[in-house]
């Protein structure tokens, strides 16, 4: 099912991107959590009042009373969505489509290793990278929150929200991976692998603004991740996460199957 030699090689190939994104996450998470301060919240809420559309578009809304609520408003609308998404887009394309396009896939296929194994291994590499980003972010959130505001953060809430976030991440990763397996040309693999998640994120931004644009939420999977709902334990938010997870599994399976059956012009 897995080829560990390939796994190790590809994980090494992920390091550079991971370091960049870990640094970005470190910067934002530590700065933003430290900004939690009832006084400052008033300032931010002032921004929200002054330009509600712009703030709402990046997922920031007024009235974040608790630290978790504050983090949901200011971290889970943009930073923890977009940066991992860029990682999935770049790496997803690099793991299959780029090799097929360049012809170096020959070395992997012309060996006593099943195509299914190759695809599973590359999929594991993509998911591992995302998992590293998310586990690191979770740890960092805990450390920064507990050291700056001891006792303010309900650990269980954070873990549940991040578990939900993982489902969304896996779904995005699966779209990128499917696109990578489907297209033998990097041009198309990138166009779909980057295009679909980005478009969905833009729709999500539109939907957040509200009004007539709110209908956009029916066309984006980002809506299915509802951190506030997860904290409150609503059934719909848990169902949303379940759908994301199930969808991710289906898309990944489809990707592996497609790679297994496709003609390789290498």
């Amino acid at each position: 099912m897995m080829n560990w030699t390939l796994y190790k090689h590809e994980m090494k190939g992920s390091i550079r991107l991971l370091v960049i994104f870990l640094a970005v996450i470190t910067l934002y998470v530590s700065v933003i959590i430290r900004m939690y301060d009832p006084e400052l919240i008033k300032t931010l809420d002032g921004f929200v009042e002054a330009m509600p559309e712009i703030m709402a578009a990046v997922g920031m809304s007024a009235g974040a009373a608790s630290l978790m609520g504050f983090m949901i408003s200011y971290l889970y609308g943009f930073i923890l969505l977009v940066f991992p998404m860029i990682f999935y887009i770049l790496r997803g394309n690099g793991l299959i489509a780029k090799y097929v396009d360049k012809g170096s896939m020959v070395s992997l296929v012309a060996a006593p290793v099943k195509r299914r194994t190759i695809a599973f291994t590359q999929m594991a590499v993509l998911c591992s990278g995302g998992l590293i980003l998310l586990i690191y972010a979770t740890g960092l959130e805990l450390v920064v929150a507990q050291s700056s505001f001891p006792g303010e953060l309900v650990v269980g809430d954070l873990l549940r929200v991040n578990a939900g976030l993982l489902c969304l991440h896996l779904f995005i990763a699966a779209i990128c991976f499917l696109s990578s397996c489907l297209f033998s040309d990097t041009k198309y693999s990138i166009a779909f692998g980057a295009g679909i998640p980005t478009l969905m994120y833009i729709l999500q931004m539109l939907a957040n603004v509200g009004g007539a644009a709110e209908k956009a939420k029916y066309f984006t999977v980002f809506t299915l991740f509802d951190p506030q709902g997860i904290v409150e334990g609503t059934a719909s938010s848990i169902a949303g996460a379940g759908i994301l997870l199930g969808g991710a599994v289906l898309l990944f399976l489809a990707a592996v199957l497609i790679f297994q059956k496709k003609d390789l012009w290498i």
Binding site: N3, S104, L108, V109, A110, A111, P112, K261, L264
Partner: protein
């Protein structure tokens, strides 16, 4: 017993492109030359054997195993040099060979080192920075280092200098002696003539000739009989041109090279 078997393989790309009803077999221990101009369908045929493409119609098997379904089992005993070599650019040659050995689960340092020495390959260079010839050498080492029983070589000497081409021919002859089954596509008539027992020629996706090199040549033997003025002259003529003399008459036969035969099939007429 035939090891590589292609039966009525067809892959139509439209506009007369593709391969049509290709059938041939390569016997155990045989070196088979696969000749044809660019775009004739050599690589397409080979891609089917390698399990990169699924046969739309017809069938190909290696050792009785289906080239598409059982490709991973076939690959265990197979070595392959692709027509266009493209490796992971960010590795050095050493790293690549080490990676491939582990990836295939068949590390074999002695043979690897022997091959690198033989082809004077310095592998401690990033593949990105390698010349075409160096990459080709690396491809040869990668294909032969796990000592496969079956070799599929797609224009294996392209990019090599004449000295290295010669080394390669020696390597193929050595492998032939060790009983390996080899399918080699090529543009180089000399290497095919030196190494291959049988050749198949493909043109516009169809096999146009399939026979032993000797038989192909015989078909194109042309005897000329000339009459000379004196028996002495006839004898001298026979000596100079390798003919047979009887009285005033001398019969000279020309043996055509594979290249001439090839030109006969591909040259001019459409």
């Amino acid at each position: 017993m035939s090891v590589i078997k292609i039966e009525d393989l067809t892959r139509d790309y439209g506009e007369k492109k593709g391969i049509f009803h290709v059938s041939f077999e390569v016997e155990q221990g045989e070196v088979f030359g696969f000749l044809g101009p660019n775009g004739a369908g050599k690589t397409t045929t080979i891609r089917h054997l390698m399990g990169f493409l699924r046969a739309k119609s017809g069938r190909c098997t290696i050792d009785g195993l289906d080239c598409w379904k059982d490709s991973d089992r076939i690959q265990k005993r197979l070595g392959y040099i692709p027509g266009e070599i493209s490796f992971f650019d960010d590795m050095t040659g050493t790293e690549l060979l080490q990676f491939l050995g582990k990836y295939r689960k068949s590390p074999s340092d002695t043979r690897k080192n022997h091959l690198m020495e033989c082809f004077e390959l310095n592998p401690h260079v990033k593949i990105k920075k390698m010349s075409k010839g160096m990459k080709q050498k690396l491809g040869i080492v990668a294909a032969f280092m796990h000592d496969p029983d079956i070799l599929i070589l797609d224009e294996p000497t392209s990019g090599l200098d004449p000295l290295m081409q010669n080394r390669f021919i020696e390597l193929v002859e050595e492998e032939k002696k060790r009983g390996k089954t080899i399918l080699m596509s090529s543009h180089m008539f000399e290497e095919v003539e030196r190494t291959c027992q049988r050749v198949g020629m493909i043109r516009e996706g169809k096999i146009v000739a399939l026979d032993s090199v000797e038989k192909l040549r015989e078909q194109y033997v042309r005897p000329y009989t000339v009459t000379l003025a004196t028996p002495e002259l006839a004898q001298d003529f026979a000596k100079d041109f390798g003919g047979v003399s009887s009285g005033l008459r001398v019969t000279v036969t020309t043996k055509q090279s594979l290249e001439d035969i090839f030109m006969h099939y591909y040259g001019g007429e459409k």
